[in-house]
Amino acid sequence: MVTENTTTDAKDFIQIKDLVKTFVSNKGETITALNGVNLEIPKGSFVSLIGPSGCGKTTLLRQIAGLAAPTSGGVFINGKKVTKPGSDRGFAFQQATLYPWLTIRDNISLGLRARHIYKEHAKDVDEFIETVGLKGFEKSYPHELSGGMNQRASLARALVGHPEILLLDEPLGALDAFTRMAMQDEILSLWKKYKTTMIMVTHDVDEALYLSDYIVVMKARPSKVESVIHVDLSYPRVRTQDVFVNYRKQILELLDFAGQVQEPEYYL
């Protein structure tokens, strides 16, 4: 269960305890990006972080990744506090951020090379190239491929080291609507195949509903977790299903975006 404010110390959970992160802006003001977040995420689940800009969802993801130090509190994985990035957590960035001087294959195998385990895992690289549908493009350079293909390579790069957790920062945000829907299915099948715990930041309610079993709704100013919704639907989900639409309504209401029928002040 993803719950707020639990105190269980089950080892398999990602635990976020009283996490506070503040920044100092250029003007010298202190900005609170995360204001005491408590969250637990079970192994193997697919969790979406959703909310308006400035609600701290990307900050939270970067905290889990260990890309920035918390101001207080912390993220614990298997009971161990996160202090720096590690290969147990893959990270797919909003932009594919492939290295332009490396071929697709070399980009994907970069993490293995960095950890000096490339030789024994060379087969994994081929497997992932196949899985994300980039076979035949191994020797291409990123600028020769489309944005969707680059994003797939970026996913493969994050997954090839078999991380326990994959952190996705709006990985599909830069793609067109059709590529985006196709990629959502690919992410689902990667999740099913490798049983990786997925934590994804998104702006898109439909995307969150289509993919996740838990949706963490966040709010800005002060940034906090508004509520956690368990999406109890089987996969593959149908976007037009009534239940789906009901969940959608529930989330939009939480985000105050449901819209209200206003009585006009004047009639013509």
Partner: protein, 315 residues
């Protein structure tokens, strides 16, 4: 029309030769021993005709001449213009503007010395370039990655770097035992600054996301420097080498003007001192061809190493 374009270079040589043979040279010019300019034109006559015929068969060559044919013809017109103004009519002082025969005579009669000068200059250029590039690259990498180094060293580099390398010649001559070592130092100094500057600023401009990706993949700091930061900065580092070589040419020519025994720069100064202006022009031609070939070679090397990003600076 396209066939005509393929033979335009040939036609250019034909009219150049015709003008040269039909109009007599001015009597003001001293005569050369042999009609060198005519020889050269005969050679080009044969060569352009042969290439024209070949380009009818070889498609790649044909495309090349369809594109460049008019230019080569235009070159013929330019050559005719200078030949008439200088050689035929002697409209400008013949002492400072010798006719083509006399300039070409330097290559035929002084060729061994010129070749020696080219080799001497090449040795100086390569040695200076080597030290300048290595030291410049290391300086740039240190400044780029280490905030401390940047803080303590960069103000001095900013102050000293823009000084033209050749200004250091008097000091270099007192520091180094031999004029040759001093020349190497001056050439290296000229290369050093632009490479150090381009390397450090390029490394600082590498997007932070590149490092974040590497960190999430478990890369060590050394990996981030050598496999992420430096490769990402390579295109700019290359530009630094390009600017460096250009200032190295300048430094080379100046450095050779003191205490050198051979060298293209030395040759020009020597010929000028003896009032042999045909020698000065011969030296200028050598420098032009030499620098162009060097830069072409450099860009060929770039296309090989940096094949992932072609044509940022065209040559």
């Amino acid at each position: 029309m396209n066939t005509l374009k393929k033979f335009l270079p040939f036609l250019g040589v034909v009219i150049t030769l015709a003008v040269h043979l039909l109009v007599p040279d001015s009597d003001e010019h001293p005569d050369a021993e042999k009609p060198y300019f005519a020889w050269i034109l005969y050679f080009f006559l044969g060569a352009t005709f042969f290439l024209g015929v070949l380009s009818l068969k070889v498609q790649k060559l044909g495309k090349y001449f369809e594109r460049t044919g008019p230019f080569w013809f235009g070159t013929g017109v330019v050559v005719i213009f200078f030949n008439v103004v200088i050689g035929k009519l002697a409209l400008i002082p013949v002492l400072f503007f010798p006719k083509f025969d006399n300039i070409l005579a330097m290559f035929f009669e002084d060729g061994v010395l010129i070749l020696k000068c080219i080799l001497y200059s090449t040795r100086l250029l390569l040695t200076g370039l080597f030290f300048g590039t290595v030291v410049g690259f290391v300086t740039g990498v240190c400044l780029g990655f280490s905030a401390k180094t940047y803080y303590w060293l960069n103000p001095y580099i900013k102050l000293l770097g823009p000084i033209p390398a050749t200004v250091w010649i008097p000091i270099a001559l007192t520091i180094f035992d031999t004029p040759y070592a001093a020349s190497v130092f001056i050439v290296a100094l000229a290369v050093w600054f632009s490479i150090a500057l381009m390397t450090s600023s390029a490394i600082q401009a590498v997007p932070n996301s590149y490092y974040e990706v590497a960190r999430t993949l478990g890369a060590s700091p050394a990996f981030q420097i050598f496999r992420v930061g430096i490769p990402a900065a390579m295109p700019s580092i290359f530009l630094g080498v390009f600017y460096g070589i250009i200032s190295a040419f300048l430094a080379l020519m100046t450095a050779e003007m003191f205490g050198a025994k051979y060298g293209i720069g030395w040759y020009i100064i020597w010929q000028k001192a003896m009032m042999v202006y045909s020698g000065v022009y011969a030296g200028l031609i050598v420098i032009a061809v030499y620098c162009t070939l060097t830069l072409t070679l450099l860009f060929k090397l770039r296309d090989k190493i940096l094949n992932w990003q072609k044509g940022i600076v065209k040559w």
